[in-house]
Each structure stands twice: as C-alpha cells, then as structure tokens.
Symmetry: C3
Subunit: 306 residues, 3 copies
C-alpha cells in the first residue's frame, strides 16, 4: 500500500490511487449508514471540530460523520470565543488542541492557516477551508460525485462558474481535476471575478485545456456544470451585484437538450433556478449528501481504521 | 394503532389518544432516567438540533433527551453562522440537513418556518418554536404537567397571563386545551397585549369559554394559573413596561387560600414573586424537568422506537 | 475516606489529602487515555457545560474529559443565547439545568456566580471560572504540573507574573500553594496590576512569605515561574500597554542558567518569547495537556465513580 497523506491540507498530493481508495471506502460508509445508521469504528477516538469561520454544511457533515462513526466530538464555533481573538497564534492553538484530541478539523478565515496548522500538529489534521485558498474535502466530494455519476475523472469538459476568483471550492476542484487525462476546464464569470493568478499559473503547468469567458451560453454542452453563488460582499457596487446575479443563472432553458450534470457546493442563492431541481441534470442534493460518507472515509483513513 | 403524526409542527393534529400515548411513554422515560440514566434506544440514530434563534431550555432539554437516548447529535446555533444568513432558503437547508441526519429539530425566528420545513423534510421534523406562531413541544410539556398534577384535561379553568399576544407557549397550550370538555380559558393581560386575532378566531370555533381581562384579581380561583414574562422588547415605552411589570405578578397574597397550580414556561423574570417558590402551588420547576422525558418520548415515537 | 467536596467552587477547601487523591486519579486517567482512548466510566451520565463567557482551553478540555469518559454532553455557549440575557437569575438557570443533567460546569462573567450556583444546585457543580474571582480547576492543573515536575508542593519559591490583579488563575494557584510548608510567593507586575486587596489579606493570614515587585530580573532563581498575559482591555492607555508588554517577557536570557520550570495557563501572547519553547524549562504545553486527565478525575470523583 502506497503512503497516504497524514494531513489533508490541499488537493495537490492526491494521487489517482488515493482517490480510488477514498471512493471505495466512501461507498462502504454509505452502505453502512443506510443499513446500520452508525458504527463503532472510531468509538475510542475524540475528534476536534474547530470552526472559526461560519459554515453550515462542512460543520454539520463533519459532525454527522464523527457521530456515525461514534467518535467523541470537541466543538468550537466562531472567532469571538476563540483564543485567537485574544491574540494566540495558530501554532499554539493547534499544539493545545492536539493534546486534547486524536484528530483536528479546522476551518479558518486566513489563506494558508491550514498549512501552518498541519506543520505543527502532532495528530492528523484536516483543512475544512482556509480563507480563499483551498477546500480539499469539498473537492473530494465533488470528484466523488462526478465519478459516481459519470464513471470517470478523465475525458471531461467541466464548466466552472460563477466566481472563480474567490471560490475555494472551485480552486480545489479545478486543481484536482487537472490531474486527469484529456481534460477541458472552462471558467465562466463576470470579468471582475476571473480566477486568481496563482491558480492560473498552476493550471498552466498542467496538461489541461483552460478557457476563461464571460459568456454563459453553451455551458450546458459540457459534461459537468459546476456553479457557486456570487458573493455579494465581494462587490464594491450593489448595482453591479444586482445586474450580474440575474445574468449568471442556470435555468431549464440553458439545460434544454443537455445531459450535463449540475453541481453546486451550496448554499444556492440565485445561481440555479428552482425549476432546475426537478430536472435529471440536478445532482447538487446528491452531491451534498455524499459529504457524510466521504468525510467518514477520511476520518477512518487518517486514524488508520481503514 | 391509529396514525401518529410524522412531523410535529402544531398542536392542532394531536388527538386525545395521541396525548395519552405521549404521556404514557413520558412516564416510562422518566422512570428510565431515574433508574438507569441513559438507554440505547436511539443509539443507531443521529438527530440534528438547529437553533437559529436563541433558546436555553428548549435547546438544552432536547440535547439532554438525545443524550439520554444515546443518539448522535448535530448541533447548529445562531443565525449568523447559518447558511440562511447567506440567503439560503429554509427548504434548501432542510433538504441538506435531512441528508445528514435521521430527525430534525428546528427553532426559527419566522412565523410559519416549521410548516415550510416539514413540507420538504424527508426525515421526521419537530418544531422547536417558530417566531410568534407555535411551540408544540412546550404545550405537550405543559399539558403533561397539568394531567400529572390534576389527573385530567377536561373540566378545567385555566388562566393565561401575561402576554397572550406574543407568547407562542400560550398560543399552543390554549389551542391544545381547547379540545377538552367543559373548558374555561381566561386571558389576563394589559390591554395592549391581548391575544392575536388569528388565535381568537380559532378558539371561537371551539366548544370552550374564552374570557379576556386586564384584572389579575381572582385569577387564583382557577385550577391552573399559567404565566409568562412580559417581553420588554415588545414595548414602545420603557415607562409602560416598568409600570406593567410591577402590576402583573403572581404573589403569595394572590394565591392565599388557592389550590391553583402555577405554571411558567420560564425564564421567570418578574411575573412570579420569589416567595411563591416555596408554596405548594408552585409547579414550574417540576414542569421544566418534564421537558427531558417528554422530548425523549417524542424522539423515540417519531423514530418508531416506541 | 475523608469527606470530599460535593461542588468545586474555590480552592480553599482542598486539603493535602484531597490533592493527593486528585493527582493519583489524574495519573490513572492519563494512562487510560494513552492506552485505550476512552472509557465508559460515565457512560450513564449527562454533564452540562455552560460557557457564558468565552473560553477555549477550559471549554475544549472539559468537552474532551467528558467524551473520554463517554458521558453525554449538554453544551451552551455565549451570553447572548442564554436566558440570563433575558433577565433570568443564576439560581433559576441552575435549578433548570440541574433537572436536565447529572453535573454542571459553568463559566460565568460575574465574580461570585459560582458560589451562588453551587448553593442552589441539586447536582455536583464545578466552577469553570467566575469573573475575576477564581478558577479552581486551573489551579489544580497547575499544582499537579508542579508536583509532577518537582515532586513536591512544599519548600518552593514561586514567581507569579504579570497580572496578579486580574488573573483568576494566579489568584487560585496562589491561594492553593499558600497551604504548603516553607513557601515563598513573589508577584511580579507593573505597579498598576498588583494583586487585589482581598487576595493580599487572605495570603497575609497564612504562613507564607509574600513579595510584590515590578522587577523581573532575578525571577528565574525561583523554582517555578508562572506567567500570564497582560490583558490589553485592562489598560486605559494603549501606550502604557505597548510599553509594558515588551518589558514583561520571559526570554532565554532571563532563563540563562536557571532550572526554574516555566508555566502559563495560556493563551500565550507576548509574555513568553517563542525561543523559550525549545528550552527544558518550558512546561506550559505539558501543563495544558494535563487539563484533560485532571478534569476527567474531577468529573469521575464528583459523580462517585472513583
């Protein structure tokens, strides 16, 4: 068995073999939850969930994953109650929590926080999202969903919208998919929300076709249409936001005749018309449901129970 | 066995048979907690507790109920960290959380939120209070306490005070008790806090005597005196609030010679004099304690373990 | 077996025998965690953790202690969501939570809150810090660390810095250590942060040498150097704070040739230079790690499982 990552900070170290192993164990966890509800695989472990930045899905699905595995859970929420608010360094926080628990999941508001945390942690560490940087477990959920729906992570045309600049989910999934063979990645966004230079440079070094456009038309010819909300707080002008939120929307009309699967890390605000929910293209609620068994797989693997 | 509600949104569908069954199972749960502390009845389940609005008793007693039954718990607190804050609909939130858990309890700030949630939920749903609308599990606790103390839910004179306008606990209990035979419901409040029209209309359609008054004198002639705090934030004028909070108070003098039981969903602010605590009429701390076994009964019933 | 405290409010009732018993059970818990991870000692119990004031270490280590013992956990965080915010008394809150749980841990912003809570609680109560008053479980962790490192709680010179005025950790540890034989306690601080009169008076009544100084030099000649951050919010003038935070710092230079152990209840802000971490004097991360087994010992003892 090849070496597996001890921490999950970025999608970059994930090999094809590793993905396959994660997906296989996710399938097993999915079946276990459906048939038995919970299992005692982590019954002798305590995992710390540190959510210093608001989150709903990531937080609740990690809670669910830990509970389904019967791990004990330590839970801290919010920046205000944290000792970082008092000026403690990320390194000191991690040293302390590592002495309280057997594994740490952390969401943090700062780009690079996960790397700093993992470098000091004496227990396995999982990045639950760090600023505008990465969100590797979300990327694994997304890739798992694509693989489960389409049977492959090669020979794909994937359209990403609508905020490649700020969306860490887009960043991580694009990096992960860029490892595949014969991949075409199209980024659809308003001009002001194009991908950050660091991502463009990393993708340029890969064997992948990358396109950037502000035209939504034709997106549904892709195999996968992966969209995320525009974040109002990123716009200087409310008028710009109002104009663009009405323009970048996945509608039944856009999907007419398309077999593309539509994914969204959620929350969904305006980026997908409610009428899309009933179409066979819509896979975002299946996608979010995969979060629990996949995160169960990661917890079990990092704690050497699988 | 007659059909039982799959969700708990309002007190309206509760039949007499259903109440009897809830009360019987509550008695069993109470005995179990006293003798064994916890039981593995929900050991293979995960329940989600979503408290988007501040709560203390409802939140802590649902936590306790889940823990006493050894269920796994998912926990979200506060509006700010929620994806609703980012603009997600109640329906999307519920779809997501239903894929993470086996049952959802939600407290929400919006009148009608529970109905919307239950209509979409694929797992059992419990309304933990929705805006100024209803609080059905509190009403069950209140009715259980009355039944346990007085042995009946018929032939009762119940006085409600002191904020029939805003108190969802009063709304739900009044609706529940209005199903009984030979019931007299008296609402005591400042004129500006009389019950809302929707409640008055619903009660008017029932076979029950309804009275509204601003006079506290004589209240202790009732069988049950059910009171709740005046909510300072509801008053435009601080002077009005100060004047009324000193007027609408249950005192030993008021209870002189009375055998009425005094209930309060708590928190108690000024509405019950501390000297009442020592009187045999005071049943509000027994009432709050019943919250755990009763909510255990509801969790177990909705998950078909009883 | 001599009587043990039913509640933990202050360090004052702790006898030498009691400390020895706590330390012995802490050793056992430490070994259990290392070998088995978790134990079912409190599997039939539910403990309430009420953190009305921000905390990180105390909250997370009590969570960990409860999870390692497999207790069910009730959890409330923050002042805003509490019923005290609505005006409920501490006494009513405790009455309610005592009917939901088998043991209560509370951190509260008010000096004296713990005494009021313990006086009414029908279940064992632990003070997790009350305002500027006491933090008895922290003092036990600190004393345990000193005893484990140096083998004694007598014949010690302990230097406390740098905020004896506000630090409840310093208050509680100084009171606890003042019970020893042949003890010398030196308090190093800016003049404006000298210990409060109530502490000075209590120590004056003991058989202990007490010194106060604003000179840091020579501190490392002590057996123990116990320091805590200066709290910015306590200073009227930002300039004063900036000047003093750079002056009161434990550095490798200060520790040159010293065998003093350096302790800190954390978070560490500026009071210990990062270069100290690598020195054998540094014991603050060991100290914080002892928090879990020690709090496990307290939970088990108060619930009569040890």
């Amino acid at each position: 068995m090849s070496a597996e990552p001890r921490h999950i900070v970025s999608v970059e170290p994930f090999t094809r073999d590793y993905l396959q192993r994660v997906f296989t164990i996710t399938d097993e966890m999915d079946l276990m939850v459906q048939t038995r509800g919970r299992t005692g695989l982590l019954d002798d472990c305590v995992v710390a969930l540190l959510f210093y930045e608001p989150s709903s899905r990531t937080m609740l699905s990690f809670q669910s994953a830990a509970q389904r595995l019967r791990a004990g859970v330590l839970f801290a929420q919010g920046r205000d109650g944290s000792s970082m608010k008092k000026g403690e360094s990320i390194e000191d926080t991690i040293r302390v929590v590592a002495s309280y628990s057997d594994l740490i999941v952390m969401r943090h508001w700062e780009h690079g926080a996960a790397e700093r945390a993992a470098s000091i942690s004496t227990v396995p560490f999982i990045n639950g999202g760090d600023g505008g940087n990465e969100h590797p477990t979300q990327a694994l959920i997304d890739a798992y969903t694509i693989h489960r729906e389409l049977g492959r992570l090669d020979d794909l045309h994937v359209v990403f919208g609508f905020d490649p600049r700020h969306s860490r989910s887009i960043h991580s999934l694009a990096l992960l998919l860029s490892r595949g063979q014969n991949m075409r990645l199209t980024f659809v966004s308003p001009d002001e929300l194009r991908m950050p230079p660091w991502l463009r440079e990393r993708l340029a070094a890969r064997n992948v076709v990358v396109e950037e456009t502000s035209a939504l038309a034709g997106s549904a010819e892709a195999d996968v249409l992966y969209v995320n909300r525009l974040q109002q707080e990123r716009f200087a002008s409310p008028a710009d936001f109002e104009r663009l939120r009405r323009k970048f929307v996945v509608t039944p009309e856009l999907l007419d005749g398309s077999s593309a699967i539509v994914l969204d890390p959620l929350p969904r605000i305006d980026e997908i018309d409610l009428a899309v929910d009933a179409l066979p293209n819509a896979k975002y609620f299946e996608q979010v449901a995969h979060g629990v068994p996949l995160r169960m797989a990661l917890l079990a693997m990092l704690l050497d129970r699988r």
